[in-house]
Subunit: 358 residues, 2 copies
DNA sequence: CCTCCTCGTGGAATCGATTACACGGAGGAT
DNA sequence: ATCCTCCGTGTAATCGATTCCACGAGGAGG
């Protein structure tokens, strides 16, 4: 592979001139520039990014460590991150942690070894020493979706509180009173927050959230299945199960179906994270949709700010409820909502979206 | 960030000794090694992969350019590729081409600029000049899923011919005669091959594949929708639509539902590529499953062989039919299959898998 | 006791770029 | 005519590793 020396020789100039010509430096004569460009063309020369990175101490690469690639939410996030990064002249290296702290650590380490310019992380746990060290040492870093309390790093996430309130209002309006949740791992902020939001929303309606109705999941389909089986075995099973992510909802659907039961007739189902497939499941699943694209974009922008040495602000974008059929038939469109159904303290957020088929 | 010089100073040895100690070179005294290790520890030193790559001319990184990250088939492929690569001591940089040749070219270029050790590509088209040049120039390269005829590069893919025959047998057995296909882009091998296999299988039953029953898609949901609408507008619409990938099947489902029609009562649907969600759609979708994990593994192994300077063999693993309900109710398990249903020339391959819920 | 290996170590070249600094020549000002 | 400035260019240092080569010390063999 041709190097800058070969180009210099071919063009009959020094390597310095080649470098300057290629980087748009002003003081290069038009003649020299033309000869360099010609030489580049005949040799098919492409600058060696490795050498350049060594010298300039920047790789124009961002690292993204996500919790689980097989989760459509995260793949959409990854996609939008890559898109925005590309627009800003960066490449992205994705590391998939598969919800495993050891894998997360592995990726953070290799990414740091590669001297990426900045790191986007959706932490699976409290954070490995290596990650915390990097954050303290000043490596530009931004948390996406999930974060680690007490670490001074901007957080880009979506706020689901209002949407969860809307969901509970919706369920309550449908007459459901025994509501259960499949929680995410307590080590993650999203795992905890969604339970808290749910409990809070229930409290507003005077509904309890007994421990038996809090199932411990790990954001994977298998745990959704197991927890749901547990719920169904209860003497008094819940009327609706709210899964804290889409994969666990899928598992719940499995479990219900395996018992020969039907959604929503026998038990209702709702999920955090909306994904295209939820429109086509049997039945279509009521879900809380995050503004994934915007999240990815905002995260990259915040990170690039940090790389430039500026602050980089935390962002929390609101999620919104998308009502489908998995919790029971919603009242036909146009029919009046029963007044008094919502407690005065918590008026529903403006117009939860109502979608059927796209 | 501490460099090898800092470690050398701290340990009171030369950089050469540090390098040797860290790379397990035999001729380093135990005492020196211990001092180096201690210095590494106190400084939190990690070797700079960029500098190392420049010197050794290898990055221990593989590039993977896939056609579309949002397609679950490709994300599973990416995952298994990363897994196998990690086991072999490589990192993977994923580039998402989004079925766009220009994006594919962009990623191939940046990957090559980064001097990755090898490239895994699932080409969206006939191949950009840059990619073909790289292949000719001897960059270790392997095609996955799709390939480019006439280029001397190993291909790792799955062979769907037998499964497509099984599918047609299944449809024919259900009494369907008017079968249509939503094809992938003609620029891709998978786009062409699946149509050919389908046509061939139909021919074995004396069934035609009129041009009106071949819809041109692009492996994205939108095209599946459009093509299906076209089919439904036909004076004599097909009884079953076979989508050449899972996204187009999703689009077809949309289109059918938008007309207020039902699957399989009004029209049947089958898809190439099986994905977890097909179990949960309404109805569950009959699909042809590829051994995605094995494909990813085989591809990485072939590529690593090439990097080592060896041949690296092409692989074609068989896909298999998974029957669900989207083409009509399969005969109840245990009931005799109607003899004479299958033409003698093409006995069905051994036992297509029959699955309901996992 | 001298010579020759072997072993551990350090010095320095090297990979391919960027960039500070020096230098020569042209042109303008005095 | 002389001097200064500015422009285009080249030389060489540098980034952080790896690795060839040389060197000194110590041990073995004659």
């Amino acid at each position: 592979m041709a190097s800058i020396k070969d180009v210099a020789a071919e063009a009959g100039v020094s390597v310095a001139t080649v470098s300057r010509a290629l980087n748009g430096h002003p003081s290069v004569s038009p003649a020299a520039r033309a000869r360099v460009l010609a030489a580049v063309d005949t040799l098919g020369y492409r600058p060696n990014a490795v050498a350049r990175s060594l010298r300039t101490d920047q790789t124009r690469t961002l690292g993204l460590v996500i919790s689980d690639v097989m989760n459509p939410y995260f793949t959409e996030l990854a996609r939008s991150v890559e898109e925005e990064a590309r627009a800003l002249g960066y490449s992205v290296i994705i590391g998939n942690a598969d919800e495993r702290p050891d894998l997360q650590d592995h990726h953070v380490t290799t990414l740091l070894d590669r001297r990426i310019d900045g790191l986007l992380v959706s932490p699976t746990d409290g954070g490995s020493p290596r990650m915390l060290d990097a954050a303290r040492a000043g490596t530009p870093m931004v948390f996406v979706d999930r974060w680690i309390p007490g670490v001074d790093v901007p957080v880009v996430r979506s706020d689901g509180r209002a949407a969860v309130r809307d969901l509970v209002a919706h369920l309550h309006g449908l007459g459901h009173r025994r509501l259960a949740i499949i929680a995410g791992p307590a080590a993650t902020t999203t795992g905890r927050e969604r339970v808290d939001a749910f409990r809070e929303a229930l409290a507003a309606y005077g509904l309890p959230l007994p421990d038996a109705y809090i199932g411990q999941g790990d954001f994977q389909a298998g745990s959704g299945r197991r927890v749901t089986e547990g719920f169904l075995d209860l003497p008094e099973p819940p009327e609706v199960v709210f899964a804290a992510d889409n994969l666990m909802a899928l598992g719940a659907l499995d479990a219900v179906r395996a018992r020969g039961l039907r959604v929503p007739e026998d038990i209702g189902l709702a999920a955090f994270d909306d994904i295209p497939w939820f429109v086509h499941t049997d039945p279509p699943v009521t879900a809380i949709a995050q503004p994934t694209r915007d999240l990815g974009r905002a995260a990259v922008r915040a990170l690039v700010e940090r790389i430039a040495g500026r602050a980089g602000e935390s962002v929390a974008l609101p999620a919104r409820l998308v009502v489908r059929r998995s919790c029971g038939e919603p009242p036909p469109a146009g029919s009046a909502e029963q007044p008094g159904e919502h407690p005065a303290e918590h008026p529903p957020s403006p117009s939860p979206v109502r979608r059927s088929t796209p």
